[in-house]
Each structure stands twice: as C-alpha cells, then as structure tokens.
C-alpha cells in the first residue's frame, strides 16, 4: 500500500528545536498525542486502570428472540463458589421503577430484561461474583423459563404489522418533538420522517427514470478496545469509570436512573481504543450503576469480544429509491422510502432516521423530492450510532441511482454528477443553504487523482478493470453544546478541560493546537485532560464529526479570552494601552515601547508566586429551526454540512469473484485542516472501513441469532485488503464560523465509499449490485446469471 500523503507527518517536538518557533499551531501537522505510548502498549485504557477491589459482573443472556420471562431460577448460580448475588430485571424494577428504562430518544431499554426478552443475547440476569471466572460460571447456571412469542426479524415484515416488539411506544420525556408518539400501540414503526419538496409532476418528455431496491446489512463497529465499565459507591455519590464517547450524557442518564443530583454522579473516561459509535449513550453504564448503587458495592463489567457484538450494531437499512433526469440531464425528481432496522430498542434510531432521511436524495439540485424514512423495531440486538450515522445507507441508494441515471443517458457518471451537484449558496431539498461544502471540488479532486479523463486499460480476460465515483453529504448534529475551561499555568504550559473524548481520532492533539494558536504556545505545551464530569465541563457527545467545530469553537474562545487577559496584564505592566500589546512565540510585546515579558515572567509578577494558574472558560452552542412536521424542511436544519467524494479503480477476478482495489482516491471538504496529517489519516481510515462495508463486512443473522459474532468469523479489512494505493485529498473551503474555518472529518469518506466501489464494479463487469456487501459469492452468482441466455 502507498499513501500519497501531501502533508509530512510531524517528527514531533524534538525536531523543532533547531528552527525558530513561529508561534503557529493551526495548520501544522503536530505529532499525535500519545502515539508512542499507544504503539508501545503503554497507554492505560479504562480496563487497565488499578481500581479499588471490584466484584465482577457477567450477565446471563436470552436464548430467545422474543419471549415472556416466566421465571428466573438463580439457586444453582448462587451455589457456585465465588458468586455473591444474582440480580434480575424484576429485582431492579422493584427498586427503581420505570426509571430503569433508558435511552437517548426513547426510554424503552431496560439494563436487564423486565417481563419480556426482545432479542437473542439480551441481558436477563446479572451475576455478581468474586472474579470473572466465578461470575461466568454463575451466569451459565441461571435457569430462565420462557414462554415464546412470535418474533419478527425482517424490517419490512415488521413494518407490515404484528408481531409487535413493544406493546406501546415510550418516547423519552426529554424530547418535546417525540411527545406525540407516547402510548401509541400496535406498531413497530417508532418514528417516521417525511420530506416533501416541490410538487410531483409528470416527467417531462425525453426524461429518464431509474429505480431500484437497495439493502445495507447490519454491521458491527469492532473497536480494538472492548467496552468496560466500573462503578462504585462513595458515600452518597456514585463514581463510574467507563469506555464512553458520551460522559456528559451518561452522567445525566445515571442521575435520572438513580434519582441523584448531577453532582453526586461522577463519570470518568480514559483514552478509548477506538469506538466508531459503539461506546455511546446507555451501554454498560446503567447496569453497573444500578448494581453498585442498590447493592452498595463496587462492580466492574468487562465484556468479551463475543458479547461486544451484542451491545450495538449499525442499522441495516432498506431503501426503495428512484430518480428522474430531464432531457437536458438535470435531475428533476427523486424519491426514497427508507426503512431502518433499529432492532429491539430504539436507541438513537429515530434521530438517525430523520438526519439521514433529509439527505436521502443526495447532494443534488433537485426540483422535486419526496422521502419517507422510518425507524422500525425488530427482534435483533439494538442498532445505534455508527460512523456515518445512517447516511452511508442512504448514500448507497442515491449514488447507485445517480450512476445508473448517467449511464442510462449515456453520460459520464462524473460529468453528470458535476452538472447536478449543489454549489455554495444553493438551497438543498431540505431547505437549508449550502456553505463550506464543496462537492464539486471533492469530485474533481478524486477524479483527477485517478486520471479519470484518460482511457482506462480494460483487459477482456479473467480480470476486468473498472472505475467508479460517488459523492456524499451529511449534516452535522444540531443543536448541540460544548464548553471549555483553560488554565494557563505560570510556567507557560496550559491545561485544557473539555469533555471531548479522544478515541483515536486525535482530538487531544488538535484541541491543543486550537488552544495554542491564539497564545502562540509551542507543540507539547497544552495538555488535554481526560473527560471527568467532576472536572471537565458539559459536552453533548464526542460523535458525528462534531468536536472540531463545536468543542473547537469553545476552546478557541477560551484561548482568545486567555490571550485578552494576558494582554491586559501586560498592558498594565508596560504602562501602555491594551491595543498596543501583541502576543508572540516569545511572550508579550509592546509595539510602542518594545518592552517584553514572557508568559512565565508575566504570570510570576502578576501573582507573586510560582505554579499559579490563570483560568478562562467559554461555551459554544448551535441553534436550529425544527423542521416543518408536514414538509420536513427547515431554513436551518443543521449548523453545517459535510461534503466528500471517493473514486476507485479496481479489478474483478471473474473466476473467483474477488475485487482488488488498485487505487482509491478520497476527498473531504474540512473547511480548514487544523492538522493536515491527522485529517489525511481520518480520510484514509474511514475509507478503509468503507472498503470492508463494500466487500464483506456484515453481521449475519439466522432466526435472530448472530451467526458470525466472533472474530474467527466476522470479517474486517486486513492489510491485504487495503488498496494498492490511496490518495487522501484535503479540500479546504473555510467555514465562516468554524474555528479557523475548520469542520470535522471523521465520517466524511466512509459515506460515499461503498457506492464508489460498486460503481467501479458496475463499470468493470456491467452488473449493478443493489445489496451490500459485494462478496465473491454475490459477484460470481451475478456473473453466472449474466451469462444465462435470457
């Protein structure tokens, strides 16, 4: 594999010594924080931390997809040596009431099943024991008596009607916009978003329409670090150490569960070893908290790899889509009916349904669009957030359709897209204008990297070659809130308190850069504190590529406030006006008198002591205008847009059905790259993950049971699946309110990846695939069908 990196990876602080430090931080490829300790295995993840003695918890899981729990017999489990206690959902329900039903959009998920199980693998009883082996042995001895109910596995069967996974809908009290769903019965559809833009008209003469049924299977995140939560009671407080991307959410959720003031719940994280959405909202925390609190003990839950597959998945999604172009090659209509399979619990599915529904027709100028997007319960493990937040599933549909539309018109797929793509200032079908979302620039960049205009060498034998392209659009989560507290230490180093969680995306590195920029601090001077709700201020979530923009803006404001404070102190010291003081890499300078003071000198003199701290804080909030219930449109549905593109050149082995990606070019408009090397790594990492989704990565179910939920069978891209050559391209159209123009980048290139690959396969062998992944079996089956005389 080669990566055509345009930004050299920083060699780190050591190499900077020679060159004079210019005081620049933003736009530099500072070395990733903790890279060395990660490579050496020295970084402490949550489960590595030395904790007070904890009892281990292992849960007994449901063996039925849908059943009533008639009884739980824990006698044999309690007799296992080392087992301290066995707790059931009924036990917790008796103590905590309906508060044990939690969730970010619907309060529908109990940490232990109450009365009913809804998927194979659902926790039914928690075994608390001295040591994990005893807990595991105990969990195997818990006998559960079930009365089976008819299950529903297929998303479309679930839309049609009974059996129903939940007797009635339970939207969370927190969200006003879901209140109308409360108490609705006899449905598996827990949320529906509808977009209506323009009036349907007869297609004009000479127009072309393409339509198809698309399917993306559920997948799993497979972060290297397994989920882990420990919780203990400290007097009348509860402390939690957890692998979570959402410490602020978890604090609120646990406080609600136990009826505690927020100040009595402390949630701490350690650096995450990957997550991709797997460690968000209510995972292991409610159970750990409920057990630690009600049993007045310290517990830890360390799940196995196999259990991790059951905790959350990416939504499987079916899309029925169509698109029409007029005789001039303008897209005039698009239609999408989207069904997200959210499994047994809604989790954040309703939000995904709306956020992804609004972009289901793609980043195109379209006169008339209609989208119906539904979130559907089935008897499967609950689906939740996954890098891309549901958008890759609809992109699979619109980028396949656009490609077919271009081909039906006999047009180059890139040129056809270029004509129809949204430009700066255009209003999308959802009603919100475009800004800092250069789809055309991304498309041009990836096609140029592949030398798109030059003819492709197309062998006619066993190996066939093809090229494909796709673009993607996503809206950032809005409205949200970020806060930052900055402490400038007397010696010129700084401590940044934010609740953004570094999980490998590099936030500890770039937040330090954003804080350093106004203060002209050098690499290594700013330390970011790991999220700890006792210490670090509220942040909505670390997800959805929102941190660079939101936390970044809060950090920038805090750092600018700090700069202003320093200037004020220096102005007083120099006896000049504040407007006359500048900050440089060497400290503060009066442009009038040339007096100078370094930060350490200035603060030492100011406080009269060493080791002192100067503190500033700032917040950053975004607002939106809720979409119209009837049309699904809003003039401000999101704070900003993500724009990306991918182009692939590949070969298909027509004997084995294997796809080999020779060259993959990916681009994202990031507004401004705070750290170009880290941006390229995000573009590249998301793309490789997308290659997996395109070719083989999927959860396979049989009657509700995951059949490949171990790493012996679950397929991830290995080093041999990485394209021969990858070209990540950073496109920069600064956002007017981004920190230094920046926006996030974590999801941008996973969004168009699968259709780019499938479009290239289409180009190579002339076959359109509508179901992911494109396994060798699917490809050979399709080739065989192609050969059959029709």
């Amino acid at each position: 594999m080669t990566i055509d990196s345009r930004s050299a990876v920083s060699a780190g602080v050591a190499d900077r010594g020679s060159a004079a430090f210019e005081g620049r931080a933003v736009g530099e490829s500072w070395g990733r924080v903790a890279a060395r300790s990660k490579v050496r295995g020295e970084l402490q993840h949550a489960a590595d931390e030395a904790l007070r003695p904890c009892l281990d918890v292992v849960v007994t899981r449901s063996t039925r997809p849908h059943a009533e729990i008639l009884g739980v017999d824990a006698a044999r489990a309690k007799a296992v040596d080392g087992v301290v206690d066995v707790v059931t959902g009924a036990d917790l329900h008796a103590l905590l009431g309906d508060a044990i039903f939690t969730g970010p959009a619907f309060a529908d998920q109990p940490c232990l099943a109450v009365g009913k199980v809804r998927y194979v693998g659902e926790p039914v009883a928690a075994v608390i024991a001295r040591g994990r082996a005893a807990a595991r042995a105990g969990a195997e001895e818990v006998a559960v008596d079930y009365r089976e109910l008819d299950p529903v596995h297929d998303v479309d069967a679930a839309v049609r009607g009974a059996p129903f996974v939940h007797d009635e809908l339970r939207p969370s009290v927190v969200f006003g916009d879901l209140a109308h769903l409360r108490g609705i019965r006899d449905t598996n559809v827990n949320y529906e978003y509808v977009l209506r833009h323009g009036d349907p008209v007869e297609p004009p003469p000479g127009s072309v329409t393409v339509s198809d049924e698309f399917w993306c299977p559920p997948t799993h995140h497979v972060p290297i670090e397994l989920p882990f939560t420990a919780a203990w009671r400290d007097g009348d407080r509860l402390e939690i150490l957890s692998t979570t991307q959402t410490p602020s959410y978890v604090r609120q959720s646990v406080a609600d569960l136990l009826g505690l003031p927020l100040a009595s719940v402390r949630v701490r994280t350690a650096p995450l070893g990957g997550s991709f959405g797997a460690k968000m909202y209510d995972r292991l925390e409610p159970l750990a908290a409920a057990l630690a609190w009600t049993r007045r003990t310290a517990v830890r839950i360390a799940v196995s790899r196999e259990e991790a597959f059951l905790l959350t998945t990416r939504h499987g999604a079916a899309v029925t889509g169509s698109m029409t172009a007029d005789a001039d090659g303008n897209i005039v209509a698009a239609d999408a009916d989207v069904r997200y399979d959210t499994g047994a619990y809604a989790d954040v599915g309703p939000r995904i349904t709306a956020k992804s529904g609004m972009v289901a027709s793609g980043p195109y100028r379209i006169a008339q669009a209609h989208v119906r997007s539904r979130c559907v319960y089935t008897n499967k493990p609950s689906a939740g957030p996954f890098r891309g937040f549901g958008v890759p599933q609809v992109t699979w549909s619109h980028e396949s359709l656009v490609d077919e539309l271009a081909r039906a018109r006999g047009e180059d797929p890139a040129a056809f897209r270029r004509r129809n793509l949204l430009r700066e200032g255009d209003v999308s079908v959802v009603g919100t204008p475009m800004h800092s979302a250069d789809f055309v620039g991304c498309l041009d960049a990836v096609t140029a990297a592949l030398d798109w205009e030059s003819p492709l060498e197309r062998p006619t034998g066993r190996y066939r070659r093809g090229r494909g392209v796709a673009v993607g659009i996503k809206a950032v989560l809005t409205p949200t809130i970020s806060n930052a507290v900055l402490q400038l230490n007397q010696d010129g180093s700084a401590t940044l308190l934010i609740s953004t969680v570094d999980m490998g995306q590099g936030s500890d590195t770039i937040m330090a850069q954003i804080a350093a920029e106004p203060l002209c601090l050098p690499e290594g001077a700013v330390r970011v504190v790991a999220a700890d709700t006792d210490v670090t201020p509220y942040d909505t979530i670390t997800a959805g590529s929102r941190s660079t923009y939101h936390s970044g803006n809060a950090v920038r404001r805090a750092a600018e406030a700090m700069r202003d404070k320093l200037i004020e102190i220096a102005a007083a010291r120099f006896g000049v006006a504040a407007t006359d003081v500048k900050i440089t890499g060497d400290g503060l300078v009066s442009t009038q008198t040339q007096q100078k003071a370094s930060i350490p000198e200035l603060l030492h003199a100011h406080f009269g002591a060493r080791g002192t701290t100067l503190t500033t804080e700032a917040d950053f909030r975004t607002t939106w205008q809720p979409y119209d219930k009837r049309t699904g449109r809003s003039p401000q549905v999101t704070e900003h847009w993500f724009a990306g593109a991918a182009a692939a050149q590949l070969t298909v082995d027509t004997a084995t059905g294997r796809v080999h990606v020779e060259h993959l070019a990916i681009a994202g408009d990031v507004g401004r790259a705070i750290n170009p090397a880290l941006v390229e790594q995000q573009l590249t990492g998301a793309a490789i993950m997308g290659v997996g989704h395109a070719l083989f990565d999927q959860l396979v179910f049989d009657e509700g049971q995951i059949v490949n939920g171990t790493l012996l069978d679950y397929q991830l891209p290995s080093i041999h699946d990485v394209p021969d050559r990858i070209t990540p391209i950073v496109v920069e159209n600064p956002h007017r309110t981004g920190p230094y123009g920046a926006k996030g980048v974590g999801e941008t290139t996973i969004i168009p990846l699968a259709p780019a690959i499938a479009n290239a396969v289409r180009d190579a062998i002339g076959i359109r695939f509508t179901r992911l992944p494109l396994t060798s079996e699917r490809i050979l089956d399709a080739l065989a069908a192609q050969e059959e005389p029709s």
């Binding site: 004997a655 083989f696 991830l716 699946d721 396994t775 060798s776």
Partner: protein, 306 residues
C-alpha cells in the same frame, strides 16, 4: 471449567500424564487451545504443555527427506533452508498460514492434530506423502498422513497419544504450486485450497498429486495420471474430473455449497496449471542427492514468492 496445567520436562512424564489423567489435552503452540480457553468451551481436565520437553523442536535432515519435531514452529518450516531445499512446496504452504504472529507460535504437530478441514499444511503434506509419528505409553507408531484425517475434526491421534514428529520425504522433481482462495477478507480462512505436485509416473506419463483443503469435511488427497505430452488444459481437465466427486463443501457464512465448489475448481485449476507449466519437459527420475550445507541458499534469499 478450569483445567490443571502441567509442564513436564521429559517425554516419559508427558506420556504418563496423557495416560493417567481424566481428560488430558496437549498444549502445543496453543493458538487453537487458547481460543477454546477464552471462549470458555475447553472440556479438558488437564492441560499438558509440551514446550519444555527436550528434542521435540528439532528439525533435521534424514536420508530420505526431513524430520520435524512436533514443536517446530510453522514459521520455521516456512523459513528454514532445509525445508526450502528438501520440500519447497511445504515451505511455501506453511508460509501461507494465518499471519506471522500465529506462525511464530503454532507448532507442526498442533497444526495437524487440530484437525480442522480448512488447514493449509495438510494439503502439502498429503501430496508429499508425509508420515506422522505418534507416541504413547504403549510405544511408537507411524501413520501415513493420507490416513491421518479420519473425519470432521477427527484425526488418528488416539487417547494417550502424542504427535512427536512428522517425517517428510524429499519433494520429487517436477512442478509444484499452491493456491488458496478466501471468499471474504483476504487473510480469512480459505474456502478452497489446493497443493499440487506434478511428477514423473514413468517415462511417458506424469502423475498429478492433489491435496485439497476446506473443500470437504477433511483434507482430501487424490492423484491422477496424464500423458507427459499433454497440454496444461489436458492436465487441468483431468485434475478437475478427479476432484469433482471428492469436493463436498460445508456451507457457512463464507459461502454456500455451490460457491465453494466453484472456488474449489478454480483453486485446483490454478494450481494444476501453474505446477504443470512449472514442470520441466524431462523430469530426472533418479532421486536427488542429499544437498550439502554449502549448497543451501542463504536464508534471506529464500523469502516466499508472493
């Protein structure tokens, strides 16, 4: 569910433990056993770790070939000049197992005793007609590898027995090739593999020996003869006809029966074509003389071809 771990220091003690404990299990490289342990499905009462037993990791030349002690690692089989010299096909196949981490740990004896139908090394051992040495408190016996794989995840290793060595005859002159196809991620277990050796049956006929992996409940061996004057297409046709009745795939997430059968044919055709093409027009029929040390290529030049 917890087993006692024993670390005997001599073979006698190993065999006593295998004979005298309730439900013993040999711990070789441990790459397969560790997975069972981790998944909590290990049934054994006693784990007998044989790493400390002297002599079990010896790899030596023998008059007719080579002898690998059970604890020789797969990585050593892949890289050792002796294996490259005496049985290059074998070195190539060991080099295609899993990944370097597994190959550095897994042992040749543990590999075959594992008995999985998808293993790569048996395909080469079958065409080379290797012999397995089994030791027990009752003595030593030898089982031809072609009789070793007795059923789905079943081998000829009996209760109380330990694989102590593999004897591999020197690879006969001729062409050889290995083809391994996975249907999902590139480094996944194969859904079809074939090791092929083309050698002289007599002056006018060639024997095509084929070892199949992943295509039936056990590794499978078959041989077919083809006129030396035949084309590579003739060789492929004959080989496909010979394997056809033996291919009996197990459907799973990697593909259905039809798909695996299809890939099996491709693996066989690719390997046979490569081996046939690689076969010199005149195959010297006399056995090769033993290579002396200074004829061996230095280790670095012996990297497997990709």
């Amino acid at each position: 569910m917890t087993a006692a771990l024993h670390r005997p220091r001599d073979l006698g003690a190993v065999l006593d433990l295998l004979a005298g404990t309730d439900d013993p299990m040999v711990f070789g490289g441990g790459t397969a056993v560790q997975i069972l342990l981790k998944q909590g499905v290990l049934a054994a009462t006693d784990l007998v770790d044989i790493a400390a037993v002297p002599g079990l990791a010896d790899l030596v030349a023998t008059p007719g070939g080579l002898r690998a002690g059970t604890m020789v690692t797969l990585r050593r089989m892949e890289t050792d000049p002796l294996v490259h010299d005496r049985a290059p096909l074998l070195a190539q196949v060991y080099g295609r197992v899993a990944n370097p981490r597994v190959r550095n740990t897994a042992s040749v004896g543990g590999n075959i005793a594992h008995g999985d139908y998808r293993l790569d090394p048996p395909t080469a051992l079958l065409v080379l007609d290797a012999r397995v040495e089994l030791s027990s408190a009752a003595g030593v016996r030898h089982v031809p590898i072609r009789e070793f794989f007795t059923g789905f995840q079943e081998t000829a290793v009996g209760r109380g027995e330990l694989v102590t060595a593999l004897d591999v005859p020197t690879q006969p002159r001729g062409g050889a090739a290995f083809s391994k196809l996975s249907s999902l991620a590139a480094n996944d277990w194969p859904v079809a593999s074939a090791a092929v050796l083309v050698t002289a049956a007599d002056d006018v006929t060639r024997e095509i020996r084929i070892g199949l992996g992943a295509l039936a409940p056990t590794p499978v061996y078959v041989a077919v003869t083809v006129a030396a004057t035949g084309s590579d297409d003739d060789a492929v046709d004959a080989a496909l006809a010979a394997v056809e009745p033996l291919i009996d795939p197990l459907p799973d997430v990697r593909g259905g029966v039809g798909h695996k059968r299809r890939l099996g044919r491709v693996a066989v055709a690719d390997a046979v074509r490569a081996a046939w093409t690689d076969t010199p027009r005149d195959i010297p029929r006399e056995p090769r003389e033993e290579a002396s040390d200074d004829h061996r290529l230095p280790f670095r030049r012996l990297r497997r071809r990709r």
